[in-house]
Symmetry: D2
Subunit: 343 residues, 4 copies
């Protein structure tokens, strides 16, 4: 197996750290340059004490000459920063962006939700979407999905694509805090989040709304309306997405399970749980798996589907590695696992 | 002020414990007999170490002769046990049931969701429902609402009553573990719940569904359809209910806030937060307050409202004390507070 | 009862917030000016959403003219700031400092552990120390103890004072995060503290070490040597202090309990638990109580004592109110409770 | 590489589950029979939903004929059950017991702390103890250490062995709940542990005391006295052990670090952190690493050392796999990692 040299920009953040954690277990990767912004010059051991084998690595500045000479460059930077770097890297280098800059297709949606000008659109890093895997094989630019969109999309896609529901979905997603990153914001202090559940970005204003909309609308004719509410709950990793929509006529629970079984039977990382078992984020902690379950609320005439993901693993770093494998023509699951860490 | 003698049955459980915690701070209550089932004979100090002033009380058996001679009897027993005891207590004793037995109006719904025969229907202990306060004044039998129904109802009632939405609501409620009680069930072990979020009772099967439906349907002509999904998140107290429904024509965010302001301006315990602030369970921990916020998702054309409650306080014990005050003709807020314990 | 006008400086912090939470339940206090540094001009409702009755109060700058005209001024400011303000307030105003500036007797120790010049020494706000209550009655300057010193001292004082142990104690105290305050420091992020236990300030360097030493040494001839290690554990409130020391000759478990019983029998807020029950921080959450237990490790010939406190309640704000009551000649427990919030 | 067939008894418990999680990532292991007591007949997917690849395995009864025909049998059973099974398995089968039955050398200590008769003594599964690795190479019976003894021993061993301290150590170890196992005991309920820190087994009565004593005493002449206090803190995995002892004459911080560096420089899994960095359990979550740090409290004249371990990984299942590798003559670290899962 050829060795792939990978550089990680933003190595001191949660996204970069998760990518590195997974690359350390990847059999054909050589970890190259690690860069940080304000952290350049520091030992990684101080910033990411869990990545022991890389403890003595010194963070370099996020500059082109540092990132040059690698086969793959993974970007774990604040949004708005990826575009410039990516534009300057050679076309044959595989650039994987964990940030939002290249996820959206519509420039108007980008400007409306993120502000600033739209950097562009890269192949979307969700291989489980119909037709997406082929687009990612051999790709040299990949946009890793947002964590909420990953689990929301995977939890609803089969129902939407098969016309089991009206194109009008409601998603309430309970997330741990690591999705908010490592920046020291007051509302993310331990004292503010422990023993506390809260909603934020309510009313269709959260930046992941257009991404979920784009993903689900891409499965059908016309637009799928998405009502998305994120919640912050007292844990570090994990998102549990509770999704529902009005049933189309005649849809039964059995039909729903049948559709999900077909959709995911061949997928290495998305698992429809056995009837009666409901997803728990603990079961997928540290793993690239997504657990899904679906049922029908007969009385309310709604399909209800729940999905669990580790926002840093399959929600960010795991997706990056999975897409890197596809881009390089490697076994898609190299360095990844479906086994969670529990309890 | 006359002193009211109060007995608490099920004093070793979470509901009974919360009632006692509040009664200890009530200026005109004398705490009488404390009973337990399997715990009879034990010192309360071993079972409820936080209730220090009652540490030396010995739990008595839950029997009529023990409960006799009190002005008020609060029942914190497993469901199915209240009916017999209540039937045998004198009519002029105020009996307040924290359990489910007398909450539902429809015997069919009781049998369908709880099994066994329907014990009956008592005045429903949610004074904030239109007209309900008068029914509770001087009542001698009161059914304390379930915790999820309390917060879901209060969060949606103004919108439903004012016709702001179609009668088809979706509720996803993230709860701490104390709502499940003190029984040692494997899935409630600390190792199973910490670092974990999960959904349960999915698809309209949760017992609180008919209760929420009953409450909201009582506000309008016809039935309100309720899709209810509870989630378990890693904290002990608190429920954050995220509720939404399709908007009726022409409803704006301003109109929605106006309706909620009018609905709750005079309510001592339900508070519509200032525009832009969203409820957090930590803000109401240990208090009888419910924080609510409402907005409109223009794009998805849905009203989204979020409510936070402490499931043991206003969700159970606080409601019991609030209703006791109404039943006895006392100031409704005696022994209760709107101030939470944070951080 | 005369009404006491109280101003709180640093009303947006955790210490100030806890003082306010307790004052809101105090029967003879009128809450006056609330001040903040960088938060001046903001509504308290945005910063302390749990203090609902004070939501519309606007924070004023921490200036003398704002603090003037009150009977009591409570300071919840970063250390180093209290001295100036206190010096300028009239001698007959009761000034209670929740910060460290006036806790230590020894200027050398202050400079060694805190840097900067020693502001002075005020009556130490721990009424449970022998002789201390009398010093606080009618005092007009009071230094509230640090949270770790409060629980460590109360847990060890009886044993040290009675000569049950050699003057060489070891304290390991597991604390929630709120003791570190509201400043947004990276290591205090929810993602960094949840699912994580860590030690800090190891080796005798933590600032509370000289304070614990001062307290225990004041009970005997000569100095008591203190080895203090604080730990950060995943909760918001609470400190559990595990304290031990070599037994003096002939000391038995029975003798130890006898000594502790005598020491605390008459204390309203410090409780020796019944034999066999060990302190839990949850039992004292939100309350002014400290739970203590003591035993003897026969084999290792050490006395082991454990204490639990709520660091924000009796550890900070509760102590402030308790001392305020003493200073004003009120019932010491006014506005305070021994009842915790559990589960 | 030959494939090793491994059976796991007690596959539904936390110990068994962790062993399986690690074996799933072991390159030369074939997972054979999985047994459970009361759970026999159930699908593993219901009991251990995170072990997806084994979801369809059906638990068999823990019987000899089921365990026969394997190269390695790992026992994750309640104590007292291992002896009988082990005695009946062939001598050339490698039997690794995660339980306590064969850890202690002294029958008197076993009876005193565990009750019942002493099953015997097997090679102790802590390769990092001086001389121990050689005893484990090719062994066919191995007793995996207790979790608290693992981290306490590794944290203190270098200091004790080098005579840096008096033979009188104090250990206070803060642990997550998973160490208490999966049995549904009331005090382990999420509502009882979240937001709560407590001490238990205080006073030298905890069963791991004689094991820590045995390990440390084995390093020197004479007995090392151990005062051990375990604490329960609100997390699922992890133990942070704070250990101290009086310094022998003339010991400095530099000398202490030197001793620890020498002791652990060549150890694959025990890491002395760089000067100034203190262990955090989050850094070793899911990994076989132990992080250690040591310093000297000049004033109190004590050596203070802190260690962090994942109680289920290196504390139980990781140690089992590490010892299995040694027993089979494989690379010691096969299937194990030093990389933790953080945040």
């Amino acid at each position: 197996m050829t060795t792939t040299r990978v550089a990680v920009a933003g190595a001191s953040g949660y996204a970069g750290g998760e990518v590195l954690r997974l690359l350390l277990g990847h059999p054909s990767v050589e970890i190259g340059a690690l860069t940080g912004g304000s952290n350049a010059g520091q030992r990684l051991g101080t910033l990411q004490p869990h990545l022991l084998p890389l403890a003595d690595r010194v963070l370099e500045p996020t500059e082109l000459d540092v990132l040059a000479g690698h086969d793959v460059v993974v970007l774990g930077l604040p949004h708005g920063q990826s575009g410039e770097i990516a534009a300057a890297l050679p076309d044959d280098v595989v650039v994987i962006d964990c940030g939002a800059d290249f996820r959206l297709q519509d420039a108007g949606e980008w400007e409306r939700f993120y502000g600033g000008s739209h950097a562009g659109t890269w192949p979307y890093g969700l291989p489980e979407l119909p037709g997406q895997r082929e687009l990612l094989r051999g790709a040299t630019r990949i946009a890793v999905p947002g964590c909420y969109p990953t689990v929301s999309t995977l939890t609803l896609a089969p129902a939407v694509a098969a016309g089991l529901v009206e194109p009008d979905v409601v998603v309430v997603a309970a997330s741990g805090t690591s999705g908010a990153g490592k920046a020291a914001k007051p509302h993310l202090l331990g004292s503010e989040v422990m023993g506390n559940a809260s909603a934020y970005g309510v009313g269709g204003v959260h930046r992941h709304t257009p991404e979920i909309t784009q993903n689900l609308s891409g499965l059908v004719e016309g637009e799928v309306s998405v009502s998305f509410t994120p919640l912050l709950v007292p844990m570090s990793r994990g998102i549990l997405a509770t999704c529902s929509a009005r049933l189309a006529d005649g849809v039964t629970a059995e039909r729903a399970r049948e559709v999900y079984e077909q959709a995911y039977a061949a997928e290495p990382f998305v698992h429809l749980l056995p009837d009666g078992l409901w997803p728990q984020t603990q079961s997928v902690l540290g793993s690239n798996a997504v657990h899904v379950q679906v049922t029908v609320d007969e009385h309310a005439r709604r399909l209800v589907a729940v999905g669990a993901v580790d926002n840093l693993a399959k929600g960010t770093g795991g997706a990056a590695v999975q897409c890197m494998n596809l881009a390089l023509g490697l076994d898609e699951g190299l360095g990844l696992t479906s086994v969670g860490i529990a309890p």
